[in-house]
Point group: C2
C-alpha cells in the first residue's frame, strides 16, 4: 500500500491514506506550501482558511497567494487548546454564513492540532458536511492529528468529547514551517513520533534512539524521515480501522492518562504531547506490572523522552483519585470498564479489555505519591 521511505532521501514524498472513496494524499517535503497546488483540492468558488493568531502572521500570506481567483475568507482563532470549544467553533460557522459559503466551499486548516480539529469538525458539521484540507504547522499535527479524520472540540468536562470522523481531501506537510516552531512544541510532537515506534514499529524506535540528537537539532533529512514514517504508520492503522472499532485505539497509547492531566490542568498546563509523554510512561509502568515489560524498557524510553526535555512525571498537585475520576470519562470506557492501551513489548501495543484496575492503582499511587 505505502512505499517504504529511505532515511536519507529528503525529496518530496506522498503517503496515501487508503479509505475507498475517502482516500487522500499526504504531501511531505521541505517547501510543499509552494510546490503543491492547493487549487486542485478546491472544487467550488469559495474557501475559508481557519488559522490562529500565531500562524496567521507567519504563513497566511503564503497560502492566500497560492490560491487562484476565488473568494477566500479567513477566521483567526486565539492560539491554544483552551479555545477548542463550541463557542469558538461558532466563530467559524458565523463567518461561513455571513460570507454566504455554500456546500461546495472548502475549509483549509492552517495551524496546529487545535486549528485542525476545529476546522475539521466545522467542515463535518457545516450544512451537514463540506470538504476540507489540512495544512499542519506543528510537528504534532503533522505526525498525528492532521491524518486520520478525527475532528472535534473539548467540553469543559472532557477532552475531545464532541466531534466527528471526517477525512480531509489532502494533507500538506511543509517541513519549513517547523523552523518557527518553539522547542517546547517541537518536543511535544516528538512524543507522538516516539509513540509510533512504541506501538507498532520497533525498528523505527531504534532508529529514533540512534538519531535523537539529529532530530533535536532539527536535521532536515532525519526530520523528513521521522515524519514520513509516522504518517505511514498512522495511515496503516487508520486504513484498517477508520472509526476505531478495534485496533485504531492503540494510537491512544498514553492518551487516557494524558487527557486526564490536560483536563485536570484545564488545558493551561502541559501541552498535549507533553501529557502524552507522561502518560506513555505510566502505561508502560502498568505493562511492567502486567508482566510484559521490564523496568529497563521503561528507563530506555524515559531516556529517549529526556533527550527532548519531555516531562516524565504528572503534575505535583494531582493525586491518584484525580486520575481515576477523569480517566473513567475517557471515550475508551465501555460499560464502566476502562480499556487501557498497554505494550506486550516495545513496538507491540494492544488494548487491555480485562480490568487491570489494581495494577493501574499501584502505578497511580506510585506516580502521584498518594
Amino acid at each position: 500500500m505505502i512505499k517504504s521511505p529511505s532515511p536519507t532521501d529528503s525529496a518530496s514524498k506522498v503517503v496515501q491514506v487508503d479509505l475507498g472513496d475517502r482516500s487522500y494524499p499526504i504531501f511531505i517535503g521541505s517547501a510543499e506550501l509552494s510546490r503543491v497546488n492547493l487549487n486542485t483540492y478546491i472544487q467550488g468558488q469559495k474557501a475559508l482558511i481557519v488559522t490562529n493568531d500565531t500562524i496567521a502572521s507567519l504563513y497566511l500570506d503564503l497560502v492566500l497567494g497560492s490560491l487562484d481567483e476565488k473568494q477566500v475568507d479567513v477566521v483567526v482563532l486565539p492560539d491554544g487548546e483552551r479555545f477548542k470549544n463550541l463557542d469558538h467553533l461558532n466563530w467559524i460557522f458565523t463567518k461561513l454564513i455571513e460570507k454566504k459559503h455554500d456546500r461546495k466551499t472548502t475549509l483549509i486548516a492552517l495551524g496546529g492540532g487545535v486549528v485542525g480539529d476545529m476546522a475539521g469538525f466545522a467542515a463535518a458539521s457545516y450544512q451537514r458536511g463540506v470538504p476540507f484540507i489540512q495544512i499542519p504547522t506543528t510537528l504534532l499535527a503533522q505526525v498525528d492529528s492532521s491524518v486520520g479524520g478525527k475532528t472535534g472540540v473539548n467540553h469543559a468536562l472532557g477532552k475531545n468529547m464532541l466531534g466527528a470522523f471526517h477525512q480531509p481531501r489532502a494533507v500538506v506537510i511543509d517541513l519549513n514551517v517547523l523552523n518557527t516552531l518553539p522547542n517546547k512544541q517541537f518536543a511535544a510532537g516528538m512524543a507522538e513520533v516516539i509513540k509510533y515506534g512504541l506501538i507498532t514499529d520497533y525498528d523505527f524506535l531504534q532508529w529514533l534512539e540512534t538519531n535523537a540528537q539529529k532530530l533535536l537539532n532539527r536535521d532536515e533529512n532525519a526530520l523528513a524521515y521521522a515524519i514520513e514514517k509516522s504518517c505511514i504508520d498512522k495511515a496503516m492503522v487508520v486504513s484498517a480501522d477508520e472509526t476505531e472499532q478495534g485496533m485504531r485505539a492503540i494510537l491512544n497509547l498514553g492518551h487516557t492518562f494524558g487527557h486526564a492531566i490536560e483536563t485536570f490542568q484545564e488545558y493551561t498546563g502541559f501541552l498535549h504531547g507533553e501529557a502524552v509523554a507522561i502518560g506513555m510512561l505510566m502505561a508502560m509502568e502498568v505493562s511492567v506490572l502486567a508482566g510484559h515489560l521490564v523496568d529497563q524498557d521503561v528507563q530506555r524510553i524515559r531516556s529517549l523522552l529526556e533527550v527532548f526535555s519531555l516531562p516524565s512525571r504528572p503534575p505535583d498537585d494531582m493525586v491518584s483519585t484525580d486520575f481515576t475520576s477523569l480517566m473513567y470519562r475517557d471515550k475508551k470506557v465501555l460499560d464502566g470498564k476502562l480499556r487501557l492501551v498497554l505494550l506486550r513489548a516495545l513496538g507491540d501495543a494492544y488494548v487491555e479489555v480485562d480490568s487491570s484496575e489494581s495494577l493501574l492503582e499501584k502505578v497511580l499511587i506510585s506516580a502521584c505519591g498518594s
Copy 2:
C-alpha cells in the same frame, strides 16, 4: 421494498428504511409506545432521554417505565424552535459526560422535530457518534423530521446550518400521542403530509383532498394511513439519496421560502409547517410562471391547506428583499445560484438548477406587495 398500505387497515405497521447496514424500522400504530420493546434497540447499560418540558409531563413516565433495568438519564429542554441551538445542545453533552455515558450509550429523542434534531445531532457528535432512537410526538416529526437521518441545530443567522447525517436505529410512531397535540401543531404537520402528495404522489394528494375532513377530525384510520404513506414516500426518497446529492432535495418543496420566513421571525412566529405551507404555495406560483402549473392547481392546494386553517400568505412585515437575502443563505444555494424545488405537475417535483430569478422576483413582489 416497502409494502403498500391499505387506507382501512389500522393495525400496527412497519415501514423499513433501506440503507444497507444503516437500515432501520419505522413502527406505526395506535399504541406503539406500549407495544414496541425499546430495549431491543439499546445495546449498552445506559440511555439518555432527550425531551422537552411539554412532552415530559405527558409521556416521560410511560417511556421510563418501558426500559429495563439500566441507567436512564433525562435532559428536559425548553419547548420551541428558538432553543434549537448550540447552547442547548451543550445541555445534552454536559449531562452525558456528568453521568459518565460511554460510546455504547443510546440517546432517545422523545418529542417533536426540535427534540429529534437536537438529540440526533448530539448522538452524531458525542464521542464522534453513538446510536439513537426517535420517538416523535408531533405529526410533523412523525411524517418528516424523525425519518431520514437529518439532524442539526440552527445558527442565529440561518436555520439548520449545523448538523450531520446520522440515522436512528428505530423510529416509534404512536398515534395516541397525537391526542394531546394542539390543533395548530397538528395542522403544521398536515402541511408536510400534503407535501408528499405534491412532490411524488398524485394519488395520495387526491386521497388527502377526499379525506381532509376525516383528517381534521383526527380519524384514527385516516391518520394511520396518511402517516404510513408519508413515511413510505420519505423512506423511498431517502433510500435513493441518503446525503442529498440529488433527488432528496425535492423533500424541501417550499422550505427555502419557509426557512426565510422562520429566520426573519427569529423562530418566534409561524411554526415550521405553517411556514412550509406558505412556501409551497409560493413555489407553486413560480411553477405557474415557469409554465408547468395553472392557477387552478395553486387554488386547489390553497383550498386543501385552508381546511386545516394553514396560512397562505407571508408575514405582513416581510418585503421581497427580506426573502431574497435570506434565501441565498439556503443550503441548496450552490456557487451563488439558488436551486428552487418546483413542480412539473401536481405530484411531480424537481430541482430547478437554471436560474429562475426573474420569476422568483415576480412571485415575491406579488406575495409581499413590495
